[in-house]
Amino acid sequence: MRTVLSIEELSIALPKGADRPHAVAGISMKIAEGEILCVVGESGSGKSMTANALMGLLPPGVTVDGGRAVFDGQDVLSLPETERQKLRGSRIAMIFQEPMTALNPLMRIGEQISEVFAAHGMYTQTEREKRALSLVTEVGLPDPAKIMRAYPFQLSGGQRQRAMIAMALALEPELLIADEPTTALDVTTQAQILDLILDLRTRRGMGVMFITHDFGVVAEIADKVIVMEKGIAVEQGTAAEVLENPQHPYTRRLLDAIPTGRLPEARALEPAPVLEIKGLRKVYRTGGGLFREAREVRAVDDVSLSIRRGEVLGLVGESGSGKSTLGRTVVRLVTPDAGQVLVGGTDLAALSEEELRRSRNKVQMVFQDPYASLNPRHRILRALTAGPVAMGKPKPDAEAKARELLEIVGLGAETADRFPHEFSGGQRQRIGIARALAMEPELIVADEAVSALDVSIQAQVLDLLRDLRSRLGLSILFITHDLRVAAQLCDRIAVMQKGRLVEIGAVHDIFLAPREGYTRDLLAAVPGADWAAENRTRGFA
């Protein structure tokens, strides 16, 4: 097979004052035509930098300071800007992570695709549109003619990503660089996009550099893998080699970290429920005004479930399934339209503002975004004591408790006097958990609590939760879009779709004998599912 791209000893220098001198330090790789090379690494590993360097899209201040990237016999890195511009989009194409923002909001999809031809001065306007249309069809967008005229905001995330791909394919590039193209998508959509890329690869025979942090995805599509840590390629080889017997400890850590779906043993639990949800409904009306009729979205549609003391219930669903709304209703950040939320007998949904404030401590929440969940202007101590103090706990006690909790979540009491910006994402999540615990709640709602974290960090936080569960007998409503994560921690799993509760049952039942079609789809869509399955069997063996 002919080599499309070979990178030799590429290093990329970061501007002064950065956490390290080089984003990428002397990495080499080869991509042959029709081959998919997965570049795996956690955030900050320099994998995206490598891609941008190839495209000549490095942010200001960041420069290539060594190595070559030979594409079709010439070193693209040393080409003059005009030459590289010719290459871009025509022979090397790229797609990005955020389909939401990667398209110009004010241009029709059709325009944006045919623009590629225009950029390289090819074909007449009508010809361009014809080709754009065929591309839209090829990437499997529904009703192509309509999509051509549509604006980005009228498309779903998956559709936008397909549009992006259509753009990238326009001039049949020999090399496609995909920078985390599926990370922002739901599992089912992700599966479709992955299939699309695989399929195109075989049909077009182009080389693909696929950047991801998810070994599941790697298992799905990779021919070859290169693992990066802090700008250094720690391991590379065929997908099989790397996945089956990783050499480098970092790779191993990553592989262990990714939830393999090895199912925990079912635990015995006392029957007493901490939370009972009965016939819960929440409808969102948008717009509505003098001359406009309101639009309705049934976010939570007649949901009933209960959580036993010490139980962890996983609430799984794709974006828009209403799982978050349900969670926020349980803590009464959202007031339901109908139904009850019984915590230790009291119906939170029915409480008045004042009563609610007094019984806030019953249910606490751990939030998704570690960077938005702590007030940047308050010291950690204040974040942890504000609640208890408001509940009438004397300040000294509250502070003592806070420091103790910080120890428990593994940060150390002395951290209490620091500001949030001094902590990493994972640490912040620990603080978030400590904050929740400080209120001595009966139930904790964890809303995508680990989704924003790198896999290795994710694993640590999950361990912490598992540990707390057993030590403090915590009851947790664990909301996530990631079935594998749910499998790690939960006793039971509830699957939601379009606001309705589709299926609820013990982890084993859900994973091994799902009753509902939708659940099966979800499971099938999990990247690396088959591979994971093998592991599982090995796990039981």
Binding site: R328, R360, D369, S373
Partner: protein, 277 residues
Amino acid sequence: MIRRFASNKGAVIGVLILLIVIGLALSADLLFPRGPWAMVQRPFLVPFTMDGFPLGTDTLGRDVAAGLVHGARVSLLVGLVSTIVALAIGVPLGAVAGFYGGWADEGAMRFTEFFQTIPNFALAIVLVAILEPTLTSITSAIAIVSWPPVARLVRAEVMAVKRREYVDAARLAGLSNFRILTGEVLPNTVSPIIVMASLMVATAILLESSLSFLGLGDPNAMSWGYMIGAARTVIRSAWWLSFFPGVAILVTVLALNLIGEGLNDALNPHLSRKGTA
């Protein structure tokens, strides 16, 4: 943040200029104990022609330099106070509107729109004319016409901040709405407000001078605008009378703008002018 500000050359220059102006304003009585109105020399003394009167004298033989220095006080005072008052109206209104939403928002915004629909400058003129030109009336007039943008800004900021998860956290901590608004939300909206305020002071100074120019200045308070207003009829025969105060205004406003932009870069890097965050 201080470092980011200090690294901005313009901003530093602005601060220096402003400090000088403030210094002069404060030491006005020491520098010119006889005050700005004393007729100390023959009228229309051309600048740089007589020691002790570097900037010449005006139509009544009053020392222009004295006028400038004493005027700095008034101009700065009007600019500052009117801005503070404007903030005092705009911030609470915007905060309540943005935080509680619903009818509170609807009402507050109608009110704001209402004031934005009346032509600002015209309204200011009418107000001053009605209340009759005194420092108080001028200041309040300026404040009244300049609070709406504040309200809108604060509203937008509050709406953005209140969606942050730490606000939810505060709710779950059982804090009262008021404490959440004042303790969690508002403190995180200050930076854009500070930036806006610094620019508002500048605009207020311009506004005051414009009013004075139209003869709506306080005759008992020497201000730059008042000097220009008084001098515009002799602008042909005595250019310096309107030139120096004009420059004073220009420089001060310039300084404030530079500071404003500096603050903007320093406090809101994400929407920094230089773009590179």
